[in-house]
Symmetry: C2
């Protein structure tokens, strides 16, 4: 077969999505790929013919080391869902013509469950057309909500970032002899994997968050306020980690309760005020009369490569590489996930799953890993998540800041 390889990145970035790209690139060369091409801005860019030759850019080892330490998506990304081929075949014809022109033997797509949908559709179309191109998905998402894998590359680094900075924020919150409640807002619109990672701030030197709110549980305002009042009565500083995805009984996001209050911005337009943490901080301040502070952990959760988990970087690299090997060995329509062999000492292996079993599905935090009151995670959660944040990969600092590598385009 023609053994050029095409790789793309899709969906929201992570701190280690480029480590998967490094794994794909190096394995492709090891398995004899003549050219490794990248799609710029994922399948969306590919449909516009935006293909880059990666050999010139990733051909030396220093480039690979920088790539592992560069956040965001080196190739650029998109959020583009292919139509069903029966409904609209045009994009498939465009794509397969490009695959032919570039003599592509395998297409690798690094992304979340929407990306697995893309792989599933391309593999099905290819099979229907008797194409021998292989389509393999490489999992990626900070949200950790993919089925078919023990966890997703990207999650461990986001979890390490959340746990580390929450620990620092907790130090900061107790600096004055003043009672206060701090509400930290954590990403995760649909699942509580990231919010739960706040629990990893706890250790011999930190109590971690007093309350964790996950989207898996309906927000019970009265129970929540009672719990905060009880905590506030016996400790100086109460720390709350809240997922941005927490909803009330009516299924409304708490952050939307803020936005729908009819506020105008300084220019008389309807304000765009996100803020689960803002909502909760206001709620506590108004109802309990406490001094409160809201803090958003922001987009850094997905791009703080200076604080990435080495375990995560390594596994991201491994699934990228194993996905290429699978393609080389004739597999198609698969995602290369991670299977956990043991918690202690932590060991994993890569494992292929049928991509149709992954696409468009969502994995929540198991109900039994959330405490009965819905305001904490259990020891099982820690047993699962703690290994994923272990060890570091030192950034390469130049002039005092971490050095990155960027795609060169004409």
């Amino acid at each position: 077969m023609a053994w050029n390889l095409l790789v793309g990145q899709s969906g929201g970035p992570t701190a280690v999505i480029n480590s998967s790209l490094a794994g794909v690139y190096e394995s492709a060369k090891a398995f004899g790929a003549e050219h490794v091409y990248g799609m710029q801005y994922g399948i969306e860019g590919l449909l516009e013919g935006r293909i880059v030759d990666l050999d010139r850019q990733l051909g030396d080892k220093m480039a690979i080391e920088l790539l592992k330490r560069t956040p965001s998506s080196f190739l650029g990304s998109c959020r583009h869902k292919l139509p069903d081929a029966e409904v609209n075949e045009a994009p498939y014809r465009t794509l397969f013509q490009l695959f032919d022109r570039y003599k592509i033997g395998a297409v690798l797509y690094i992304g979340g469950n929407d990306s697995m949908d893309t792989i599933a559709k391309l593999a099905a179309y290819g099979a229907a057309k008797n194409s021998d191109i292989r389509f393999i998905g490489v999992p990626k998402t900070i949200d950790n909500d993919l089925v078919g894998t023990d966890h997703t590359p990207g999650y461990g680094s986001a979890a390490k970032y959340i746990a580390t900075i929450l620990k620092e924020v907790i130090c900061d919150s107790s600096v004055y002899d003043i009672r206060s409640v701090t509400v930290a807002e954590i990403m995760g619109r649909h699942t509580g994997w990231l919010a739960g990672a706040a629990s990893l701030a706890a250790g011999s030197d930190s109590d971690g968050p007093d309350i964790i709110l996950l989207p898996e549980r309906v927000f019970d305002e009265e129970a929540f306020l009672a719990r905060v009042a009880e905590l506030e009565a016996r400790r100086h500083n109460v720390i709350i980690a809240a997922s941005e995805g927490v909803k009330n009984r009516d299924g409304v996001f708490l952050c939307d309760l803020v936005s729908t209050a009819g506020q105008l911005d300084a220019f008389g337009h309807k304000a765009i005020l996100s803020g689960t943490s803002r909502y909760l901080a206001d709620l506590i301040r108004v109802r309990l009369g406490c001094k409160t502070r809201a803090i958003e952990f922001s987009t850094l959760q997905r791009c703080a490569s200076h604080l990435a988990s080495r375990t995560d970087i390594t596994e991201a690299y491994q699934v990228g590489g194993a996905a290429v090997e699978a393609a080389f060995r004739g597999q198609t329509g698969k995602m290369c996930g991670i299977r956990r062999l043991a918690d202690q000492p932590y060991r994993t292996e890569t494992a292929l799953v049928d991509v149709t079993a992954v696409a468009n599905r969502e994995k929540c935090v198991p109900a039994e890993w959330i405490t009965p009151d819905g305001m904490q995670v259990t020891a099982d959660f820690e047993r699962y998540a703690r290994p994923l944040i272990q060890a570091e990969l030192t950034p390469i600092y130049i002039n005092g800041v971490p050095q990155h590598i960027h795609l060169e385009t004409e």
Copy 2:
């Protein structure tokens, strides 16, 4: 003289204020102090008699190493200004009785210009009463606004944090093939040292911020929008770093323009909406029709010890130690600052200054270090600031997160 030493921390914390405490502690022991006491919550706690014995807590080298890596103020802090002794002598009598009881020979106070005011007042009162207690200030503030020192410990780490995460945010901002304007809000209510540090994100792999707004220059809305429009016309992603202290022609903080729009929170109360970045992002969106994103760099700027500058940690330790030496040699009413000997290779020495020359004053970014249009800093700014963010001090990671040390109180 009695050679027990009392040390306190005051004002907002930094990532390296505890490194100064480590320097004070270790030098005090080296110069033969029998006991080193700490005031809990600064002068405010001291007035309530809250004194802790540090020998039990900082007596081993691992404790010192953890202390250097622990953000926030180990001893707790306060924002408390002593009254003039002529107006109200009572607190001075309380304090000097405590000094007597604990056989204090020297009082060291780590803080900003308010703290230097405290040292000045205590030294003057002591001199008037023929006390032989020495009072020495140790500079600390992320804001870098102290006179009498080339720069303040705490600034370099905040600057390194700002430059590093801005660099990561810039990577993140270009991930999709979408035009956007990102506005990052940076601390510094009165001076632009921190906002200027955003320029340090620039290097061979990053353009850094396109615009930097400092409080030293009045915000000119039309000139600003014209500049954003011009940038937006020729690049995909425009990056703006704005100080929270930027004011308009009327001397009103931009963030207050947001708050005073009469907004209510979700509970019908007047909303507390901070947000220079929110204001600017809304302004750009409304006036130029761009997709915008506001991000606050938040309290992490003062507590991200996982990303501290080793230069900063070392200098914080040095000024703490040199302050003790000065006290031991009979100095009082001084602050131990930093004098720069050379930019390249960067070298400094500690230097004593009269604390009355420091107290209650403020150092702004020099006008000639800001570009004529008021929207960038010059190469001189970089020459000044770049050395301060050099090198790192690896956190001690336990269970995947940096380990800290906390004051043990009964």
